[in-house]
Amino acid sequence: MNYLNYAGEAFLLIPLSAIFLNNICNKRFIEKHFHILTGAVALLQMIAAVFAFYIMDANQMLNFDFSVFGSSKITGIELFDINPVSLVFLFCIGMVAFVSVMISIRTIDVKKGSYVNLLMTLLIGMNGMVMVSDLFSLYVFLDVIGISSFVMIAMFRSRKGLEGSIKYLIISEIASIFILMGLSFISMKTGSLSFKDIGRNLLTNTFELQTILIYAAIILMIAGFSIKAGIVPFHSWLPDAHQSADTSISVLLSGIVIKIAGIYGIYVLTNIFGGIKAYQVSLAGLGIISVVVGALLAACQSHFKRIVAYSSVSQMGYILLGLSTGSTLGIVGAVAHVFSHAAFKSTLFTNAAAIHEQTGTLEIDEMGGLQSRMPVTAFSSTIAFLSTAGIPPFAGFWSKLLIVMALWGSGNQILAGFALCASILTSAYFLRLQKKVFFGKTPEHLSSVTEVTGSIKFAEILLTAVTCIVGVLFPLIIIFLHSRGLI
């Protein structure tokens, strides 16, 4: 158990010590070698997640409670908790952070030290959020994620960056207000806000103000986390923020932040209130709206990153649909989709970085015929696109399949049908993207473009391999997890 304790603490202490190291070292030294520090942190995070999973599996534990800085003085109050689901999230965080570092080597020229600091605080926020066992601490880490993201988007002080940042900030603050209001309404009835103490016994059928307030709290918290996840109609900030940030930051935001800040919050809510019919219906409604509207909006954008950002909106809708079933299958599908979405969305943003580095533009109308000039990028983006659209045997296919099956199984055949139809829209907008960027005539100014080299190429190949391998092995993984009783 001691090892698990170390692993759990590592998720918070490693980034903290990285901040410390970053700031005491010589500035020039850090500027030169910042990627080693951050890359090591990301790798360590992945290793720690796998290690913790291994130990929990060996001891047949389903969750492990611990506290940082020695044990708490009051027994019975454990502040952190890790379980297989949070380990999956932690692994995804490590993976996307690693990709971000790989991209940043090429894209970030100034303020490298600040990038490291903010990446580490973002990591602490995300790690903390998936490990806490108390709704208020969840909110605190949510805001840590939020504030780090605002600063990261605005970091280079371009017009667009500042604009995206301030829009994100304002709408995100509304989310904070909603969530805090919800928390205070819930704590009017219960003394404590830890996950164990809140349950469905909160809801009585009597018509009194307290019960109404609990329902209001559920509504407010759905709205708050939906804002953070970029669900339609709370999505407007998302494409703005994700488009305007540097690509190494967009990949973090789109690849993992919206999932931790939004989807993990809704996942926690589902564990607590998942049985309420109205809760399920509203999640399903929001999910299907964002699947369709996200795809429709993505189909008429002209900026590479904006298309990919709207595609995130659409995919978040799928995850919400999976959560809305409230069944084990649906939740497994949602978590699996979190993983596969992290993989393929990171690939697409890495492609964006590659294209931006080589051509200097991301407007898809100015591009064309890059397939023969950038074969690796074209290949990886095709694989990512196939995975997004849910074509077997890639990772996205299995997770979408699980979600659709869960929807079908829970009696929502019509929703399942809609979700399948929306796949056609998904492929439509991605084919448009592929057609404009990789096929067709090459414009004059792009005739000397070559394939990207170095870390971005490495990240592309790595992520493509992950998408393919996980896709092929997915049934085996699921069978393995099931045989261990972990899902």
Binding site: K73, V144, I147
Partner: protein, 164 residues
């Protein structure tokens, strides 16, 4: 106790509305500080002494300072601000809406006999013990937040790198 709370609530609402509707940003900031102070009174009366102290010192102190420095950094003339934004004119609807909603809420509550009641007896607990012993996760969060604040000041306010 209830009387003080009613009076402070009235002041709180009025200060908030004034802060929202006032023409001049400086006045807005001052009204906000006053609202903060009034809220501090309410917290104190309810028995949240520590929270009241922090509220008064930080919210009505620090945040006002931040505002005023931000206002002074932006050198727009007062008349221009009024002409450009004319908040009072654009927000005339707010007091009406507040009165309507407030009356509606009270009528609804009276009609359905809805009211909040205390759910449990007061527990004697020391704030400091609770804070340091059971809220360690929050403390980590706070430390990191303050760290980000420092980084933000460093990244967003420093001028030199813009010139490069």
């Amino acid at each position: 106790m209830a009387t003080i709370i009613y009076i402070s609530l009235a002041f709180l609402l009025i200060f908030c509305v004034m802060a929202v509707m006032s023409h001049s940003l400086l006045k807005s900031a001052i009204y906000l500080a006053l609202a903060s102070a009034t809220l501090g009174v309410i917290l104190y009366v309810l028995g949240a002494y520590w929270a009241a102290v922090i509220e008064v010192s930080v919210c009505s102190g620090l945040i006002t300072v931040i505002f005023i420095s931000a206002i002074s950094l932006s050198k727009i003339k007062k008349e221009e601000v009024q002409k450009l934004y004319s908040d009072k004119k654009r927000m005339w609807f707010l007091p009406v809406m507040l009165i309507v909603v407030g009356v509606a809420l009270i009528v609804l509550a009276l009609a359905n006999d809805l009211s909040l009641t205390n759910t449990a007896e007061k527990v004697t607990e020391d704030f400091r013990e609770i804070f340091w012993n059971t809220r360690q996760a929050d403390i980590i969060g706070q430390i990191v937040t303050i760290l980000i604040g420092g980084i933000a000041v460093f990244v967003l306010f420093r001028d030199d790198e813009d010139k490069k």
